[in-house]
C-alpha cells in the first residue's frame, strides 16, 4: 500500500515535459550546390531539357512559345527521361518569378524521378521473385 497519490503528479510532470520539448522534423527538398571550383562540362544540346519559369510563374519547356501547365510537367519529364537515359534537366527561373513557382517545378521534377525509380525497382523485384519461384 504505497502512497499512490503522487503517481498522477509524476504523470503530469512527464506529460508537460514532453509537450514542451517535442519538435517536429522539418520537411524540405534537399539539394547539393556545385562547388565554385567545379569544372564546366560540355553536353550535347539534345541531352538537355530546359524548363524555364517565366516572371509570371508560367513554365516553358525548351523552345516552346506556349506555356506548359504545372500538372503536365511531371508526365512530360517522365516521358523524356524514359526516352533518353542521359537527359539533363535544366531548371531556369526568372529573377522576378515567385519562389513558389520554382519550388512547384522542382517538386514535379523530383516526383518524376522518384516515380521512375519506384517503377524500375518494382519491375526488377518482380523479375527476381519469379526466379525464386522457379527454383
Amino acid at each position: 500500500m504505497v502512497g499512490e497519490s503522487s503517481m498522477s503528479d509524476v504523470a503530469f510532470l512527464l506529460l508537460v515535459f514532453f509537450i514542451v520539448s517535442t519538435t517536429f522534423p522539418e520537411i524540405g527538398l534537399p539539394m547539393i550546390l556545385p562547388s565554385k571550383s567545379g569544372d564546366v562540362k560540355q553536353v550535347k544540346r539534345d541531352n538537355v531539357m530546359q524548363i524555364v519559369t517565366a516572371r509570371s510563374g508560367a513554365y516553358f519547356i525548351d523552345i516552346d512559345t506556349e506555356p506548359t501547365p504545372l500538372s503536365e510537367l511531371k508526365g512530360i519529364v517522365r516521358q523524356r527521361l524514359t526516352d533518353n537515359d542521359n537527359l539533363i534537366l535544366s531548371l531556369e527561373t526568372h529573377p522576378d518569378a515567385p519562389y513558389g513557382s520554382m519550388i512547384d517545378a522542382l517538386d514535379e521534377v523530383t516526383l518524376a524521378y522518384e516515380e521512375l525509380r519506384a517503377a524500375k525497382i518494382t519491375r526488377e523485384q518482380r523479375i527476381s521473385l519469379k526466379m525464386l519461384e522457379i527454383e
Partner: protein
C-alpha cells in the same frame, strides 16, 4: 494482546522519499532544458509532395519573407552578410545543411543571390523547406 500478522505483505519499504526524488528530477530538468528560440520571419512556405525529412541538428535557417527581408538566427541581415555568417557556422559543423525558409511569393532573385553566397562559402548542402501536401 493478540498479535495479528497481515496475510501476504512482508516488510514495508518507507516511500516517504519519493517526493524528494520527484523534486530533484523536476529541478534537474528545469535547469538543463534548452528551448529552441529561433522565431524567424512571418512567411508562407510553399507546398510540396516530394519533401523529405531534414535532420534538425545540422540545420541553419535562412528566412526570406515576401518583401525581401533576409534573416539568419533572428538577425536581419543583407545579402553580403550571408557569407561570413555561414562560414562561421560551417566551421562549427562541417556537415551543415542550410535550409531556405522562404515565402512562396518572394522574388526568386533573393534565393539565387543567397545560393551564390553559399557557393562562395562552400556550404553546398542546401534544402528548401516546404509544407507537405496531403495526398
Amino acid at each position: 494482546m493478540e498479535l495479528r500478522r497481515k496475510a501476504g505483505s512482508g516488510a514495508r519499504i518507507p516511500t516517504s522519499s519519493m517526493a524528494d526524488i520527484a523534486f530533484l528530477l523536476i529541478v534537474f530538468f528545469m535547469v538543463t532544458t534548452i528551448f529552441k528560440l529561433e522565431q524567424g520571419l512571418a512567411i508562407t512556405l510553399p507546398r510540396s509532395t516530394a519533401g523529405e525529412k531534414i535532420p534538425r541538428e545540422k540545420v541553419a535557417h535562412i528566412w526570406i519573407d515576401r518583401t525581401g527581408i533576409i534573416s539568419i538566427d533572428d538577425l536581419v541581415i543583407s545579402v553580403p552578410d550571408i557569407e561570413p555568417m555561414i562560414l562561421a557556422k560551417l566551421r562549427e559543423n562541417q556537415g551543415l545543411i542550410v535550409s531556405f525558409n522562404t515565402d512562396e511569393q518572394a522574388p526568386y532573385r533573393l534565393v539565387n543571390e543567397a545560393m551564390e553566397r553559399l557557393k562562395l562559402a562552400n556550404a553546398l548542402r542546401v534544402s528548401f523547406t516546404t509544407v507537405p501536401v496531403e495526398t
